[in-house]
Amino acid sequence: MTPMTPVSQAHALELLQGMVRIRRFEEKCAELYSAMKIRGFLHLYIGEEAIAVGVMQALRSEDSVAATYREHGHALARGLSMRSIMAEMYGKLEGCCRGRGGSMHLFDAATRFFGGSAIVAGGIPLSVGLALADKLQGRANVNACFFGEGAAAEGEFHESINLATLWKLPVLFLCENNRYAMGTALERSESETDIHLKAQSYGLKSEAVDGMDVIAVEQAAQRACDAIRNGEGPYFLEFTTYRFRPHSMFDPELYREKAEVHAWKEKDPITLFSQKLLVEGLIRDADIARIEANVQDEITVAVEYAEAGQWEAAEDLKRYVYSERGHHE
């Protein structure tokens, strides 16, 4: 028997809503992709929602977040408005990046959300640098950096963990191990498949966490953030998880068995969490229905906002390549 969910009803509902929000938003995105409203690459996070939602509970507004091209969930959980993300997917001026970034490059200064990097492991050094800036300026912030297990094959992963540990920088390394780097299975690309052990060899605290259990994620993130804020240097968390959908909308999924996908769907973080809460009597069916209705309303508004949005004037094409003088200090 698993232990009782150690959170209040209100917080449990918040976590559940956070995950449902990402799931339904992305389902809508897939639909809009088929309708050709959204173009380019679209990488869905469906199946992995517990990680972004759980981790964000431990972060504060002054902390920073950097993520990958599969970052809709992180952006939503961090507090970017759904409508500004949807408008960005549409390529509209009202999008969080005026339509210049798209699905893979969501940025938001207000919530200190630094992308949206589509170079595997390329965003990790940014978090190391943001952490160095915090340390040099005496701020006790956490700099959270999400990446997939595929990043472990890149030099920047190793260089970053080494440097952050060497300089005791406040970086929270968050590895979302969904077992496939695009279509390459972990055991087909890594001699040592235990990513958290690899990290540990650099001398920082490193844990493996069940990424399908939002409570386990939240608790681990809280532990890690406490240690980082306490000046103990960086911390590494590896979350085991699974991507329920194809890598992107172009992926025929030739590299994995349907049975494997099915088995992981049995561990759906939303289903498992909501069933547990129902069994424990912490929530009722009506609560779930209300969450679904709220989320549906938010999505409807977001789509309407994106549909009604404007296209940035093509004359503005060359803006934002260099700073506009007088705009910055």
Partner: protein, 336 residues
């Protein structure tokens, strides 16, 4: 910097001028720090930062692991976090290991974010040949960066620019790459006691002339000036333009000169194919074609990896005599 003269100048070198600029920036702004391989205890591969570690300590003169990608990326992140980092990459050849960070992050984040973030980062690196360092330390790859929108690329050739470009680069809200020619570090000369910040936008005419415009930058400036002096003795008065900024290019200065002289030769230590010289020539062709009296020409490095042996290395590089010969061809002289 001793031997102060009554004229208000001091004896210095290109290396010392850069060091003075770093030191001044560190003293002026607590957000400035220097980071790179062996910049601290060792004093810098080319001894540029010698003494700064003792003065400012390990927090602000930061020795990094041999991890170009992460220390440049860390510079980008630190700039986003409110600092004013100066990152030293030992040589442009090594910068290929961090090109991802420069091209995919430093140059793109402002645009991808719709103008929300800017990156006030300065990256310094050595470039160029002449020290018999062979094919992995001697190349002039700055054109690769001059190709990239979102960054600025400058190349100081004079003591004044070595002393003054850094301060202006640090004031810039966007990434600036400073290319220091390795062959210039020992170059001595007099500099004004109060030398300070200079613009990083404009090309400058280093020698006036009316017969032909010689366009160059960085380490090739002095060979070009020597060629101009020799040509003057033969009755050809060459104007010499130091580009200084490789991105953006100061077209106005170039075109005004070429329209006057009606001839131009570009001298560039990079390889001819896809070179900065090619870009300069294309722009002159596009905008001043009907003002020209002779085909445009260029003097570039031979298309080989730079060899070690001194005579072979020199054979690969633009030389004063090659410049003279090329200029004379613009006047119909087939070189005797």
């Amino acid at each position: 910097m001793s031997n102060q003269r009554e004229s208000g100048t001091v004896e210095t070198t290109y290396r010392e001028a850069i060091r003075a600029a770093i030191r001044e920036a560190m003293l002026k702004d607590p957000r400035v720090f220097l980071m790179g391989e062996d910049v601290g205890r060792y004093g810098g591969c080319y001894a540029v930062s010698k003494g700064l570690y003792d003065e400012f300590g390990p927090e602000r003169i930061r020795d990094t692991p041999l991890s170009e990608s992460v220390f440049v990326g860390t510079g980008i992140g630190a700039a986003l976090g409110g600092m004013r980092p100066i990152v030293e990459v030992m040589s442009v050849n090594f910068s290929l290991l961090c090109m991802d960070q420069i091209v995919n992050n430093a140059a793109t984040i402002q645009h991808m974010s719709g103008g929300q973030f800017n990156i006030p980062l300065v990256i310094r690196m050595a470039t160029g040949a002449g020290l018999q360092l062979a094919a992995q330390h001697s190349h002039s790859l700055e054109v690769l960066y001059a190709h990239i929108p979102g960054i600025r690329v400058v190349a100081p050739a004079t003591l004044e620019d070595a002393r003054g470009m850094l301060a202006t680069a640090l004031e810039d809200p966007d990434p600036v790459l400073i290319f220091e020619h390795a062959g210039l570090y020992n170059r001595p000369g007099q500099i004004a006691v109060d030398a300070g910040a200079v613009d990083i936008d404009r090309a400058v005419i280093r020698r006036k002339g009316e017969d032909v415009t010689l366009i160059t930058y960085g380490g090739s400036l002095y060979k070009t000036l020597d060629a101009a002096a020799a040509l003057a003795e033969q009755g050809i008065h060459a104007e010499v333009i130091d580009l200084r900024s490789l991105r953006p290019l100061d077209e106005a200065t170039l075109l005004a000169s070429v329209r006057r002289t009606q001839r131009a030769v570009v001298v560039d230590e990079g390889w001819r194919s896809g070179s900065l010289a090619a870009e300069v020539i294309a722009r002159i062709s596009e905008q001043a074609f009907y003002d020209l009296d002779a085909p445009l020409a260029r003097v570039c490095s031979e298309e080989v990896p730079i060899p070690y042996a001194k005579h072979m290395e020199q054979a690969a590089l633009p030389q004063t005599q090659t410049i003279i010969n090329t200029v004379k061809m613009c006047f119909g002289d087939r070189n005797d």
